[in-house]
Symmetry: C2
């Protein structure tokens, strides 16, 4: 049982989700050891000096920052240079029955949002970060590359702008889920040249980036929304001549993610493939790695009760 | 003597400037044959159907577009996909006594701007394109990489925002010219990490890009203002994690460049290293290639008179 430090609370994890970063983490792509994962929804069990928070359902931001440096004071707390990142960098993650979290990282979950919706707050915030950085105009033609766990949330948030969204998909099952949301899907071969005002690449692959480059129009924008392994060879002169903008995009704001969930504007339910108890965590990871599998959720609370 | 086509006028070139692109062109980096160069100032000699333009001093935009396609109609005429580019792509350039230009590409030069100022309109417009694309806030810390012909114009336009501008320089003579403009200069070794809100790389080199990456802060912007030869190996994940924005930047708007020259807010005179008659064009190119040499201007008109 972890003990909350100064300014921290103890949280019982109700649900936690496996994301692509976790899969890469167990493959050894990050120099991390300890308890993995950062997507969770839970209940505050102990809150020293803040007893009114006890019993509250919460979700938590994953970057732990100082609040004092130039980044933090300028509102870029997720970029504190010596940050800890829950389950990713020097901080135990949430695949656990209990976890301690800084109180300031937590957001109360409105009653109307079910646990299985709230657990998507973190990746949904990451999807919304795109629109914190780049304006997706209602009249834009937007290409989304990748229709995985994160891609599906990006598809949902972008669709809310009214833009014409086209999604490149490979697998038929993923294609089915996307057409449910009224997004037009195209195959890799159908990505034309110079057609899209905005391209979001969630693939994290050199092939995805090449496709984004092929699909974006002159003076258009490519948002990089994924972790690319290693280096990618890029013709910078093409970016200059066509005046392309590349935007790297990581963690996003929790309050708007909660607003969208509370107002039922985003329904992540169709993205959930399966649930596992924490005691079957290894099986859960194996399942999450299978092709076509979307969100696999762990239920640490069921191991206790 | 060239004959103006439909919608074109005949211009006598008074002054023309050698830029980095011209030097790369004669080295064979572009698939271009013909008369090189695109920076000029001249006088309209013949203007069929537009006789009031005869005698006018003019400068000219270098991209020749259709005016009808989706790019042109959306105000992106410089990105017309089958554009001709004066002295660069399928169109004779201005290292000539006489040249034909589409009338719609020409801008009248106000009387108060001398020829040797007006000839900088095209590269000055290219410098201003940065601020068409990216907002340089007065409170920003800005790093400029490269203090060559174009870099010096970028330094002057950025300085007008009031931002704190720091320029990386290698050669002492260039350093001298920059301190004249009250810009702080630093050496390559002094480029710190994560310090600048905005970095403009005019180097066109992988080393310059690496320096830009080292100098930009998280969530900062790197403007690519130069032609990079070949491919550059880039760690896209770093751009994602630090949420860096890359912006490719090419040709810019002529009217604001003429405004700045007319109001004496930009003085390109110290950037001029030497003048040559057109008949000594080969020597002019050799001179322009020498280290520390800035703008070399050709005077085609002197060959005639």
């Amino acid at each position: 049982m972890p003990k909350p430090g100064s300014g921290e609370v103890l949280v019982r994890v109700q649900l936690a989700g496996i994301c692509a970063t976790d899969l890469e983490l167990v493959r050894g792509y990050y120099a991390f050891t300890g308890v993995p994962d950062h997507e969770f929804e839970g209940e505050v069990l102990e809150a020293p000096g803040e007893s009114d928070r006890v019993g509250q359902r919460v979700v938590g931001e994953i970057n732990i920052s100082c609040g004092k440096c130039s980044h933090c004071r300028a509102g870029r707390r997720t970029h504190y240079e010596r940050r800890l990142v829950v389950g990713i960098l020097d901080r135990e993650g949430v695949f656990a029955e209990f976890v301690t979290m800084p109180l300031e990282n937590l957001h109360a979950v409105p009653d109307s949002i079910p646990d299985e919706g709230a657990v998507f707050t973190e990746p949904l915030a990451a999807a919304l970060e795109i629109q914190e950085q780049v304006q997706a105009h209602p009249s834009d033609h937007v290409l989304l590359i990748g229709a995985g766990r994160l891609g599906k949330l990006v598809a949902r948030t972008l669709a809310l702008t009214g833009c014409e969204l086209v999604v490149v998909v490979r697998r038929e099952t993923l294609k089915q889920l996307l057409t449910e949301c009224n997004n037009r899907t195209i195959s890799v071969e159908e990505v034309g040249e110079n057609k899209f005002d905005l391209v979001v690449d969630t693939s994290g692959s050199p092939e995805g980036f090449a496709m984004a480059k092929r699909g974006v129009r002159s003076r258009g924008t490519i948002v990089l929304k994924g972790t690319y392994k290693g280096y990618v060879n890029i013709n910078l002169s093409e970016l200059v001549v066509e005046e392309i903008t590349l935007v790297g995009s990581r963690c996003g704001p929790f309050p708007p993610a909660l607003h969208l969930l509370e107002n039922c504007l985003i329904d992540p339910a169709p993205i959930i493939t399966d649930y596992y108890p924490l005691s079957e965590g290894i099986s859960a990871f194996r399942r999450a790695e299978q092709p076509g599998v979307l969100k696999v959720l762990l239920r640490p609370a069921t191991d206790i009760s």
